[in-house]
Symmetry: C2
Subunit: 115 residues, 2 copies
């Protein structure tokens, strides 16, 4: 099966992650499972990619983190919450997506042209 390469997905992980934070805070493991589910296994984000995206986006003020230390078994979990700036970033990225889509599709040839 065809896979989505890292060069192609680059720049869209922000959209994907922020989308999953729009309604409620969430955390790494949960988000990675949701991406897999929603994409029907077409995109499985790498753990390192995800966690470094969190770090980057928190640094940029798009998300905020808080830790839940009261999990069963003395475990911790780091949650992320989208900020107002994050919502604006999300919206801007979505607009950029629309633009990009329009542009790219001009460079997709009809089937007949490929010999």
């Amino acid at each position: 099966m065809a896979e989505i390469s890292s060069d192609v997905i680059r720049g869209y992980n922000d959209i994907i992650i922020l989308y999953l934070l729009l309604n409620d805070p969430s955390y790494g493991y949960e988000i990675s499972k949701q991406i897999r589910l929603m994409s029907e296994d077409k995109y499985i984000i790498k753990e390192t990619t995800l966690y470094s995206a969190f770090t980057r986006m928190e640094k940029n003020g798009f998300i905020e983190s808080f830790v839940d230390e009261d999990l069963a078994g003395g475990k911790k979990r780091t949650y992320y919450r989208i900020t107002q700036a994050g919502k604006e970033h999300y919206r801007a990225k979505c607009e950029e997506w629309t633009l990009t889509k329009e542009v790219i599709e001009k460079f997709i040839a009809d089937e007949g042209r490929l010999v």
Copy 2:
């Protein structure tokens, strides 16, 4: 106006350039003008990006170069021609694009959800 960022376009320059070589050989300056024209100024490829893409794709066997030394004024021009492997690469990238599009669009929220 919104611009297309390098992270978002990354991975699609191959499609764009190869598309413009599908019918006839062409060269850097001409291709950059065509991209600008076809995208209605929405995407203006950087010279360095374009020429390094040529080098990379020639190394990968997707294109072949030949030089026209007989231009007016003793100038040279390097043309590029798509290979069979290049056409297959183009087709594979187009399929990847379709897949990526399907995935990304699942993470685009309705207008109403953005407050």
